[in-house]
Symmetry: C2
Subunit: 470 residues, 2 copies
């Protein structure tokens, strides 16, 4: 049966892309209140896709923030159920002038579809839905029960998701979550992500005076908020880029030997990483390989800084106020709340003379996530990838954060398998985000396989059997 569905993939690519392009035209930027109307439009558009695909139950549900989109096909009573997760919100598109073509006018160039959200996460979401549509159109049913949940707050840390999951527990009864968010490490190496980093963000403000001062009349005697903030930022890392906040690394669990061995097989040299990431040098903990730094070591980055005059021309003031946001990416067994405290304590202790420092923990904390290696859904995902790629995937962790996985575990007790065909170099969160068209087709086929493999592996586990291996 799966063969018949897969055979229809080639003809399905273009119509699926057409729907993706329409989805990408909606600037569903969750971080900017000005786009609240677009969030609503995007949610309704996604609901329309699900209904068209053949899901008999589709709802747009309130969350307290942007709405969630829910759908269910439960035509196999007693069969296993997967909950497909993704998000319809996107990152802001600025700086706009860095885009070759406008972020919300999807454009194909050299086999790549350019648009904000193409790769993170509308492209991967559409693949999951279109694969279900192919099953439903070809066979009239799905190999197992499928629930879909698309949220609109992933890019702001899913602040309402835990409450929503708890409130909608009855609509979300499943055996496992399959996330259409996440990304493969690189295009020539199929991989399965078994872990994601945690996240905690802080807003820091430094005040040195009641008002900005004339730099001529007060220079040399008045403290400067930008100087003070710069000293604080400089104190966060040593010269190599190692985090210098006391206690920051204390609870870091070393990766398992087999994980380290698998990452060593990636053979990711500093130079290869430097070129792939487009950076001018590779920094960080020299005692770890680049892959280990990215997968298994925590990081702290200032995400933005502002202070003093930022308008056109110049203005010779001594800034009285400067601020930054910073985020920490965490690994097991670090706790976001504990790390936030360590960083806040460090910044307060390091406050330069004449500077008042305030630190606020921003919403959107997420615990680090690591999937147990014997999760049956992982074996199903591996089988689907083997069939699609003809080779065994590498088990890796992602440097990104998926707060949703943490919420699914805590609230619903469900493991999350990441199954996405975006690639780590596709400029998520940056200008000129794109999705590779070849991966769109390949991922569509893999999702077709995945529904079948999940049905088989989850049922086998339930029956105490071993699933057939490919």
């Amino acid at each position: 049966v799966t063969e018949a569905v897969r055979a229809r993939v080639p003809a399905a690519v273009v119509p699926a892309l057409e729907r993706l392009v329409a989805f990408l035209r909606i600037p569903s930027v969750s971080t900017d209140p000005a786009h609240a109307g677009d969030m609503e439009r995007a949610a309704r558009f996604a609901a329309g896709l699900l209904a068209e695909a053949g899901f008999p139950a589709v709802e747009v549900l309130p969350t307290g923030g942007p709405p969630a989109v829910w759908a269910a096909w439960t035509g196999r009573p007693g069969a296993p159920t997967v909950l497909v997760y993704g998000h319809y919100d996107v990152q802001p598109a600025d700086p706009l002038d860095a885009w070759v073509t406008p972020p919300f006018e999807p454009t194909v160039r050299e086999g790549r579809l350019y648009a904000r959200g193409a790769s993170d996460d509308k492209g991967p979401v559409v693949q999951a839905l279109e694969a279900a549509r192919l099953w439903l159109e070809t066979t009239g049913e799905l190999p197992l029960n499928v629930l879909v949940l698309l949220e609109g707050e992933e890019e702001v840390g899913s602040p309402h998701l835990a409450t929503f999951l708890a409130a909608q527990r009855d609509r979300l009864r499943a055996d496992v979550v399959v996330s259409a968010d996440g990304a493969m490490w690189r295009v020539d190496e199929p991989s399965l992500i078994v872990g994601a980093k945690g996240l905690v963000s802080l807003a820091v403000t430094v005040v040195t005076a009641a008002a900005d001062l004339h730099s001529g009349r007060h220079g040399g005697a008045a403290p400067n908020a930008v100087h003070a903030l710069a000293r604080l930022i400089a104190s966060l890392h040593d010269e190599d880029g190692r985090v210098a906040v006391p206690g920051f690394y204390a609870r870091v669990r070393p990766p398992a030997p087999e994980e380290r061995a698998a990452w060593a097989r990636l053979a990711l040299s500093e130079e290869a990483y430097r070129c792939a990431a487009g950076v001018r040098g590779v920094i960080g903990e020299g005692e770890y390989t680049v892959a280990e730094r990215l997968f298994a070591r925590p990081a702290l980055d200032v995400n933005g800084v502002t202070g003093g005059y930022g308008g056109p021309g110049s203005k010779t003031v001594i800034p009285s106020r400067a601020s930054m946001t910073l985020s920490c990416r965490l690994v097991p067994d670090q706790s976001p709340a504990e790390v936030a405290k360590l960083v806040a304590r460090h910044l307060t202790a390091k406050a330069p003379f004449g500077a008042e420092v305030t630190v606020e923990v921003l919403p959107g904390m997420a615990a680090p996530y690591l999937l147990p290696p014997d999760t049956p859904a992982l074996a199903a995902a591996e089988a689907a990838l083997r069939r699609a790629f003809g080779q065994a995937p590498l088990y890796v962790r992602m440097g990104g954060t998926l707060p949703a996985a943490d919420h699914f575990r805590r609230v619903l007790g469900l493991a999350t398998v990441f199954f996405s065909f975006s690639t780590a170099d596709e400029r998520f969160h940056a200008p000129n985000e794109f999705f590779r068209l070849e991966r769109f087709e390949l991922g569509l086929a893999a999702w077709v396989e995945l529904y079948a493999a999940m049905a088989e592996h989850l049922r086998a586990r339930r029956d105490g059997r071993c699933a057939s291996s490919t």
Copy 2:
């Protein structure tokens, strides 16, 4: 005769203020190209004031930038000539929400006139013009020949002034320049400014990657432009706030012993300065008094910094680019070009690993300025202040910059005497700039005296006589 003119000052205050208020309503922000039309309006308004005051020759002259306003009353052939200088442009008004009343809607509260430009420099300019008007209305003439030059680029460093002075040399033949720009140190201590600091500004950009990167996927291995810029900023000063750029202080000329003695009489304690400036601590070179730091020591301040995401909400990127503008306030015998080189060399040498640093010298360099103590016009200004205040003024230097004084010396060979009744605490360049109404009246009277005292002292010097002392 002077008595008769002074007697008319009380009745002249309100009409003069009315004209000032109309002048202040024009948002002549020179640093922002969006205000080019307002610059033209402000120049024509000032020309109108001069014509109304009784100057027979008034012209608005092109400079290559905002126009200059020129006027002449030369009714005393053979008598000395003063060139009154001021500027009609103002600093940007942002942050707008920090203003109690809008910056371009002049408002009086508790004896203070609040508006952008009230104190720097439209208020002081109007005083000089209204005093001339009083002379002309009362006596039909001025005690000496008076030229007026108002420029529109003081707040951006007077980039076209030197060329303009050279081209218009014939219209600007004078014995001395009297500047209506500058400020008194404090309200209870009449002072004469004999020096001003030099200025050079730099724009610095740090680039670490081709594009902003996802902080989850790249944290711990990719360099962060904000971290790199912060390290550069932190390297510019030591912990006390002393400038740490090698060679920065090398050419600083120590103040004369009589200057230091005069400043010691100011008895400006760190605590008194801290309260007056509204700062949370006093920083800088502890081996110098606060007055010495402000008057005779150079300073380096970052005026603004920007990097990474600065929009609403948060965005977890690793910034690939960060930038700042900084300005150095210089004292004799520092050279702006040489200091710019030292700072640029320091920043380039300190470039953190993985960061490309570019440094650009911004337009508007000004050399430091110090008036020879035997300048006759200084004695005239002192005499006028003695008459207006009933006490001898203190000779001080200003921390601010007056590039114009440097240009007048270099291009026209003229000394500049600063004669302004704004006070250093009136929030120039900051929100809620104001001008004290009591100083408006007092300055009007002092300018009436100044024209007479200048006539006497400059003629006496020319004749080899000593002017009468009061």
